[in-house]
């Protein structure tokens, strides 16, 4: 006789009726709560992209999206950082998945197969494996929950403590405890049921049949199956032949067997109710607690936007005051937050003791969203004590939060939106105000005369082409820092000498170039960004060039992703076909890579230097340029040692997003640039290589502050290329003049 799952064993009729009354109520509460939450997403504005809702849904259903979602969910691929965390997340996740599938199978077994077809799915060998799997994964789940409890209540890492309260209706709902209760009562129900089975089996074999009880237990089976079961028991076969396949339950049963039968049955019924009610509570809790992210996170991953990461979406020029000024996608994002705190672990502002935690801003928005009624909601302001200006001004727009976020929240966009409202009100950080006034007045943040912009080139000894007057292959958009900062100027000249030596045909815009505005936009001054872009585009449209070359990664980013609005990277005048000729934007590291590869520059004196390379945020993370600078370094003989934080996880120097103009927030811990310098020092390398003029300034300062001037050299990549390519004996000949011009 094959084993089968017992149907509502030892559940009195009244309990059974109650159960089936409760289930629809629970479902109604869950659906109503979910709809209430989802409606809040649509309190916001439309996204700038003109895409119909139908198209959005079609895009969300694309296999690529689901593939990515499945990868994220099944392997929790974006969560894993340390082994403990991996094991914990995986055990809880897979425990829940298997138990959920098991519960679903049991529902089919009970409410479909048995009810309508007088048959069962969970029977025979399949039932045995089912029992084994449920037990094993119950244990797996409990192990995960124990790990989670250990971490949350004993280790208590700071990142798990939410920075805001009132983010959901039931912030303190014990999710972990409820899950554990469900698992434990599940085992108890099984153990008590098996214990009763063991006792009954003995009674039956002693021929003192408690036929009434057994009939009651088998009342849900059809008459034939009921007879068969009773007959099987009468033959002395075990009541639950699959019992030993549930090792935990069976073990518990052995322990509980000595209890009186009445106690076993009573306890079983109590555990059954606790189990059911806990499960119902958990389901109802989803829309009302942080567990809502179970729905919002996947939704967010599916409805993600596919614009280049380097383009900051700006919906309202005057910025964001209430949740209603945000877009539906941004509101969905804040709801997707799982409070994992990873963003603040990688945030240079948070790590240096600034008042900003990216998740804090997200949670603050989420809390205000909760307070905003769905109907004709007059929304409370997000600013003031809720999100303080100091928090917003701390952000260096480095994008590390966005990069690490398991559910792909775009924190930098949110922060820029909020900053824009502060700027609109004239509430601008002191140092930033100086810079913005200078940029309005002079087109550069240094408050220097525009006429002095090309002054860096004076000591070069060769004239630079004026790209406004003659055609050039490369129009070099030099950028503010590279033009005006005394230390960066040195490097700018070296780049010029290298290009000159390699026979590159290039020119500059002289005093007509203005700050490109990347950081102006991220600081929240959208009007000024538009003005700067207008002025620069006017010059670019009038110039004749084939490619745009940049020194500053920030300039690179905005020229590449935000200047040509059609995304084509084209700046020139319209052609006859209505399109602009495509003019790619290159960073100087990319061009040096190309020049070295095609032999226009040759590393005559390889450097034999151990160095590490700092990925600039706006070159690496936002634009994916990781390999060219590394290839350059290897070509000139640098033994490259990577810092722990490199590539997409590079750690910002703290200068971006306009931070370089702002005063330091009093920092109880070390500044981002100092942390970075210590990271490089720990590698024991001689040199920290940078590829951004702002990095040069930040790290040269930081090296002094940590007292490592003698141990660590901060050098621009171009300086190393220059050292390796120049002709050795004659110091008067500054650079090797290469003759194989290919430009």
């Amino acid at each position: 006789m094959e084993p089968a799952r017992p149907i509502l064993w030892n559940v009195p009729h009244v309990s059974e009726i109650l159960l089936y009354v409760l289930i629809p109520l629970v479902l109604v509460a869950f659906v109503a709560g979910t709809v209430w939450r989802i409606r809040k997403w649509f309190l916001g504005r439309a996204e700038p992209e003109a895409v119909s809702p139908g198209r959005l849904i079609v895009e969300a259903l694309a296999p690529r999206r689901w593939g990515a979602l499945a990868k994220t969910i099944l392997f929790q691929s974006r969560l894993a950082s340390d082994p403990f965390s991996i094991v914990m997340h995986q055990t809880i996740f897979w425990g829940m998945v298997v138990l959920f599938v098991g519960t679903a199978l049991a529902t089919i077994d009970q409410d479909v197969a048995n009810l309508f077809f007088d048959s069962q799915v969970l029977r025979g060998a399949f039932y045995r494996w089912f029992e084994l799997a449920m037990d094993l994964f119950g244990v797996v789940l409990l192990v995960g929950l124990a790990m989670a409890a250990y971490r949350r209540y004993i280790v208590r890492p700071a990142r798990l403590v939410p920075t805001r309260s009132g983010i959901s209706l039931l912030d303190s709902f014990p999710l972990l405890g409820t899950l554990a209760l469900i698992a434990v009562t599940g085992f108890l129900i099984e153990g008590l049921r098996l214990a009763e089975g063991l006792q009954l089996g003995k009674q039956v074999s002693a021929a003192t049949a408690s036929a009434e009880t057994l009939r009651e237990h088998f009342r849900h089976l059809g008459p034939e199956r009921q007879q068969a079961a009773l007959a099987r028991l009468a033959r002395g076969e075990p009541v639950f032949p699959a019992g030993p396949w549930a090792p935990v339950g069976y073990g518990l049963a052995r322990l509980l067997e000595p209890l009186p039968l009445g106690a076993v049955r009573g306890l079983h019924q109590a555990a059954w109710w606790v189990h059911a009610l806990a499960a119902f509570a958990l389901i109802v809790a989803v829309p009302f607690t942080k567990a809502f992210h179970l729905l919002a996170s996947p939704a967010n991953l599916l409805f993600r936007q596919d614009t280049p990461p380097g383009r900051l979406e700006v919906v309202a020029e005057s910025g964001v005051d209430t949740v209603r000024d945000l877009t539906w996608r941004q509101l969905l994002q804040v709801e997707a937050c799982t409070w994992c705190g990873k963003c603040r672990e990688v945030c240079p502002a948070y790590q240096s003791g600034s008042p900003l935690a990216p998740c804090g801003v997200v949670q603050a928005v989420d809390a205000q969203l909760l307070r905003t009624p769905v109907r004709n909601g007059s929304a409370p302001s997000l600013h003031g004590t809720h999100i303080r200006p100091e928090e917003l001004w701390s952000c260096s727009a480095c994008g590390a939060c966005d990069e690490i976020c398991p559910v792909r929240i775009e924190h930098p966009r949110l922060i820029a939106d909020l900053r824009r409202r502060l700027v609109d009100r004239g509430e601008v950080e002191e140092g930033l105000q100086d810079a913005l006034v200078n940029l309005q007045r002079y087109g550069n943040s240094f408050g220097q005369s525009a006429r002095k912009r090309p002054d860096w080139a004076k000591p070069l000894g060769f004239p630079l082409k004026d790209a406004r007057k003659e055609e050039v292959e490369y129009l070099w958009f030099v950028g503010d820092y590279a033009s005006y900062d005394v230390r960066a100027q040195e490097v700018t000249r070296i780049v010029a000498r290298l290009l000159h030596a390699a026979g590159v045909d290039f020119g500059i815009l002289f005093e007509k170039e203005q700050n490109a505005g990347n950081d102006v936009r991220r600081a929240g001054e959208e009007g000024l960004f538009s003005l700067l872009r207008e002025k620069n585009l006017k010059e670019l449209a009038a110039a004749r060039f084939h490619k745009l070359l940049t020194t500053d990664p920030h300039t690179y980013n905005t020229l590449k992703n935000e200047y040509s609005l059609d995304g084509s990277g084209a700046f020139g005048p319209l052609g006859g076909n209505g399109h602009r000729a495509r003019q790619p934007v290159l960073h100087y590291t990319e061009l040096l890579d190309e020049l070295l590869r095609r032999g226009a520059l040759r590393a005559r004196r390889p450097l034999d230097l151990a160095a590490t390379y700092h990925d600039p945020c706006y070159l690496g993370r936002f634009n994916g340029v990781y390999e060219p600078p590394r290839r350059v370094l290897r070509t000139v003989g640098v033994a490259l040692v990577e810092m722990p934080r490199h590539g997409p996880h590079s750690f910002c120097c703290g200068a971006g997003g306009g931070r370089i103009w702002m005063k330091d927030v009093p920092a109880p811990t070390e500044r981002p640039a100092e942390s970075r310098v210590r990271e490089a020092l720990a590698l024991g390398v001689e040199c920290l290589v940078v590829a951004c003029p702002k990095d040069l300034a930040m790290f040269q300062d930081a090296v002094k502050t940590v007292g490592a001037e003698k141990r660590l050299r901060v050098a621009d990549l171009a300086e190393l290329v220059f050292e390796a390519t120049r002709v050795p004996p004659e110091p008067s000949t500054l650079v090797e003049i290469s003759h194989d011009r290919t430009g």
């Binding site: 140092g431 005063k663 330091d664």
Partner: protein
Amino acid sequence: MSGSDILVLAEVHRGTLADITFELLAAARGLVGGSGGEVVALVLSENGAAFAPALGAADRILLVDHSALANYAPEPFLAALAEVVTARSPRAVLIGATSIGWDLAPLLAARLDAPLALGCKAISAEDSALAVTASFCGGKMVAELRIDRAPAVLMVLPGSFRAAEAAGKAQVEPCTLSASLEPAAIRFEEFLLPEAGDVDITQQDILVAVGRGIQQKENIELAEQLAQVLGGAVCASRPVVDQGWLPTTRQVGKSGMTVRPKLYLAFGISGAPEHQEGMKNSELIVAVNTDPRAPIFDIAHYGAQVDALELLPALVEAIGARKG
């Protein structure tokens, strides 16, 4: 008293004569030269006789004593000044470019329809006229002015003349005025003093600034010693404050204070633009740094390429030797 006298407005601020007074007396002495005119100091105060001994550099001291002059308010001061100038018709009236001078010099010139020169750095007498060198446009332009009508009202920049020493005993002459000196529309109420705390480096005439080149916290003491003998205070660039060697109240630069002392001695400061922003307007900058390319030398008036730690004690010693 004649038309070749030079009248100096002695400035009394909270019970003491302001330093500018002695600089003005020196300028006036240079102007009267051999003309036969007198250097006349005018004290507008309550109980001004007490200041007479300190004003020995003048030939004559005019005292206007009045309770309405106990504390500054423009109307009584202007009334008294205008009456004295009208009565005495000096060749020139010298007033310091101070808080009071910025009121009284232009107001006096306007009331008397007299020529006025702001920003005077040098003044000389050329037969019938005065030749004035005035700095304007934030020091980026210098104008030579010729004034041939008396009285000329000259507002003199502090620090343009070496303070005059009290040479002898001036003749003290009390004045009684016909004008009413009661304040009319503008009434003095009280002085608001800054809250006591750490040294306010923005108010120091002499600053000894230390940077990363100071190497260790213990070496701050060397700078303190020099500040003490010079009568100034110690301030620092950001790295030093970052290390917690000095409080943030002593930080000069973009993220700290902006200072404008008479003397800024920079030891071991390379002079990043952020630091320069806070101190480049100091009247005299002397920079000491081992790196000859340090940008601080671009804005310093004097520089030395030596080790700050060696020079600090040498300076203390040299000053001690000079003072005897």
